[in-house]
Symmetry: C2
Subunit: 348 residues, 2 copies
């Protein structure tokens, strides 16, 4: 679908290990004051001068987390960084550094890795982080990307998942379900392409949801916004597995219940129309779709005036006592228990 059969191919075995790492990272500039030494020694050296640091790591596996038949490598590199930064922001921290390790089979030429790293570099530039380390090795099959992200936060400002209190408001940034519906479109077009490779699909009506799938953003802006508004969330998590899964994490760790209002869940019009086209319930998509990389957090009711006018934030429910349980309040005003989804990855 997007592969250019005529592209230049340089075999990875033509380069030594150090040639490859040097080559891929030569454009990566160090800008953060906390980075003392980047790539090129046994380890990177950092200094955060008494601030707390946060560390998070994620693995992305070809065939499990991404399908290279419709994911451009540059987008993949960008997204790999974003999913990690999102976890840093969910601690109310500023992302400062990442390490990037890849395992890659011989079917990838150097030019493919250059594409991947150009996406990583773009994300590093836009989110103002340094790439300070990594490892590059061969794999027997496919591509695997492992990223560790580091951030800094003042000791008093760290936000965990376990601080939600009864009567707090449940708030979400942006809108939900778009990345999942974008994936449905890409999967459908892949099947069409298999049958008729000359078919040129019109993806214009789906541009927003496809971008949310292929090139998501992490909500660095929301961390800054909350700081500017002097709102410190009582708990926070990023939405990677779907709204219901993240609500369960917050409620379980905070030992509270909640009411989530179906009518308050923010949905983009493209999500609604595409759900209608696929005959899928949009609320189900928002609850279980995942990969939104929005922030879900709770705030004290007294902070409500500070956020109520903001178009980036939606109040979607209330925290309740633990004994009241977790419920979705539907448009028909019935209450349905919120349940955990199974882990799809190991069922395949």
């Amino acid at each position: 679908m997007i592969e250019d059969k005529n592209q230049q191919r340089t075999q990875l075995s033509d380069l030594g290990e150090f040639g490859l790492i040097d080559h891929l990272t030569k454009n990566f500039k160090l800008k953060k004051g906390s980075t003392i030494k980047g790539i090129g020694d046994d380890a990177a050296v950092l200094n955060f001068n008494k601030k707390n640091i946060v560390v998070t790591t994620d693995l992305l596996v070809e065939g499990v987390h991404f399908d290279l038949s419709y994911v451009p490598l540059k987008h993949l590199g960008y997204k790999s960084v974003i999913v990690n930064l999102s976890d840093v922001y969910a601690m109310n921290a500023n992302a400062t550094q990442i390490t990037v390790s890849i395992a890659v089979s011989n079917r990838f030429p150097l030019e493919a890795l250059e594409e991947l790293y150009s996406g990583i570099e773009m994300a590093a530039k836009i989110y103002d982080i340094d790439v300070v380390g990594g490892d590059t090795t061969s794999s027997n099959t496919g591509l695997l990307i492992s990223i560790t992200a580091i951030g800094e936060v003042e000791t008093k400002k760290v936000v965990y998942r376990n601080g939600a209190k009864p009567n707090d408001l449940l708030v979400v940034s942006g809108d939900l379900g778009a990345a999942y519906m974008g994936l449905q479109i890409l999967e459908r077009e892949k099947e069409v392409y298999k049958v008729n490779p000359n078919n040129q699909p019109d993806l214009e009506p789906y541009n927003y949801i496809i971008e949310r799938q292929l090139k998501p953003e992490a909500r660095k802006d929301i961390v800054k916004l909350l700081n500017d508004l002097e709102v410190c969330p009582t708990s926070m998590i990023d939405i990677s597995d779907g709204l219901s899964s993240e609500i369960i994490h917050i409620c379980k760790q905070s030992k509270v219940g909640c009411d989530l209002y179906e009518e308050k869940i923010p949905l983009d019009p493209q999500v609604i129309s595409t759900c209608e086209e696929f005959n899928i319930d949009s609320t189900t998509v928002a609850l279980s779709g995942g990969e939104d990389y929005e922030l879900l957090f709770t705030i004290s009711q007294e902070d409500y005036p500070k956020i109520k006018a903001n178009p980036n934030l939606s109040v979607i429910g209330y925290i309740k006592e633990e004994k009241e349980g977790l419920h979705l309040v539907t448009r028909a005003e019935t209450k349905i228990p919120i349940k955990a989804q199974g882990w799809k990855n190991f069922n395949g």
Copy 2:
């Protein structure tokens, strides 16, 4: 060879994602003062109170870095941690935390992952580090382990690869080549086993070199020793790819040359006898074998009296001016240039 066909098998899909992570890490206790929050949130939270921190990461891939037909999973878990800690110690730092991510196919039952994590836990306990994060996902084939290690070091004590000066002494800890020869024994026994599965090999004569391959140690003790002796190396690196490759790194980054004395290279008697058995030159094995996880460093000549009596340390050469180049001085007193080895991983 070592697989127990009757072992209990619990399918990974029987557990949820969170059940699996909780299960595998439930025995992991946090002990470091610098760990504020470990596994269980979007990110770990650490505080190093003005000290420099070092960060390093490594990927280990089944079929590239290890062969499960003769590597017990517990040993693999242990070794995966060791190879990362070795990089931390090579910065003259103390290792404090790791994150552990694994991608694993459905052919691994839960009990296999428990074995792997028991080795990780053992290494964490022995080296006094906290496991503070990680990711667990499925892979289409095999097992992949990605570990990021974090350590702390006083700002003035960080040792890089680029500080070696002409006339410095080149020093190595322990002995070299054993892990490579251990691998040769394991590979040979694997072939014997294929032909006759009932054959019980006598591995006793090779116990040291097999242990060096399957259960290497990182030289935390050497970092402490040098500190106690008040010796601060001018440069340091750990030996993962073989002595010649590491010497080249130090000389290239320090812009110096060196003379390495063949007769001074420390070899265990089992390495010498096994090299004779395989008809391989032991110096070649020490130069190119790799996986020793010893520390290679340079010190000022004035520090020589402090280390000369120590049985853990061998002076193996001298740093020279860059224009004099890098040479091995053989037992016959001829000089041979030290050359880089190719990167085997991408040639397969």
